[in-house]
Amino acid sequence: SSPRFSLAGWARGLLGWARPERLLTSGRVFPLSCIHTSAPLEKLGKWEKKNRIVYPPQLPGEPRRPAEIYHCRREIKYSKDKMWYLAKLIKGMSIDQALAQLEFSDKKGAKVIKEVLLEAQEMAVRKHNVEFKSNLHIAESLTGRGQYVKQIRYHGKGMFGIMRLSRCHYFVKLVEGPPPPPEPPKTGFDQAKEYVQELRNRTITHSL
């Protein structure tokens, strides 16, 4: 990672104004803490940047836009396929119900997701102007693949296998308001209606 300006130049500049006679005459001490020379600590991912979008102020007649909170945790030592089952479980639930289900789940990822949800709830109340911490529901919950590391697994008779340590990311989007009602399952009658409608939508080309 390259710093924004050269270290030698900075050091020269620092020594430049740190001359003792200059300090005595001016009587001011320049604090060093306001200069930061390091590059940004971590590269922000797309999900973290979603919290930064600012909408224009709403017009008086518009319905209130519900608050959206994006949170994630990176490089969790767990498999993304196994984590997906937990993410699928809590999709569309209210945050209290999700926390209850995760508390009594026996999976390793449940503890991690619970921490992430609690952090996100805390963030929502402090920074995102959410009034009631229970008035949140989970709009999206996704898993992603993290970095994998290969390791040797020793077998008998001098044989070995190469095992993969898998890691995953977990992303969650909380939205203010009660959870939306679940969609009713599609009946055969609905499917038949759709099929007939598709047949009716066909047009005959090159006709009168």
Binding site: D81, Y85, L86, K88, L89, A100, Q101, F104, K107
Partner: protein, 180 residues
């Protein structure tokens, strides 16, 4: 008797040499390495001899049953097929409907299981009582043969606790620990 050939023309001689070589190879079967493409079969290391295989007649049964048949996947399972199996409802985690609120502390608990918070609370207090007992006994195998009673701040032993061992705890009596 010896076969005597008259000296033929050079190309004919080369042809005869080749034919003789092929005959030799045909007469003496040798398992040389450079083979052409051959039938690959799922089977363990030692193959049955060709003569024995020819003599079987049935193929499968006999001394070599199960040698040439091993289950193996024929084709790669596509991601669509894999998803159908992994996302089938019986593989998804089921939503638990037996979660309640503990009336004592307000934390969540399963209906048929003790509340985790209350249990931890009782466990911590029991640990302290056991420390007091250890301090009083001073070593292993010194437990008296009488009952034990635990008294908290400002409590006096009643007439029922006559011959019992008394353990003092320097705190207020917890609400969940009823006194007899």
């Amino acid at each position: 008797a010896l076969l005597v050939f008259p000296s033929p023309l050079p190309p004919l001689r080369a042809l005869l040499r080749r034919c003789w070589g092929r005959l030799e190879r045909g007469l003496l079967p040798r398992w040389d390495l450079p083979w052409g493409p051959a039938l690959a079969v799922q089977a363990p290391g030692a193959l049955p001899e060709a003569a024995e295989g020819a003599g079987e007649g049935g193929g499968e049964p006999g001394a070599w049953e199960g040698v040439l048949w091993m289950a193996a996947p024929k084709k790669r399972r596509t991601i669509e097929v894999n998803r159908c199996r992994r996302r089938d409802p019986r593989k998804l985690i089921k939503v638990k409907r037996n979660i309640d609120v503990c009336p004592e502390c307000g934390h969540l608990k399963l209906k048929h299981v003790l509340c985790g918070y209350c249990y931890a609370k009782v466990k911590a207090e029991t640990r302290q009582i056991r420390h007091e007992i250890q301090k009083q006994e001073g070593g292993p195998f010194k437990a008296p043969t009488v009952e034990t009673v635990v008294l908290y701040d400002g409590e006096q032993p009643s007439e029922k606790d006559e011959g019992k061992r008394i353990i003092e705890r320097a705190r207020k009596r917890p609400s969940w620990f009823a006194q007899n």
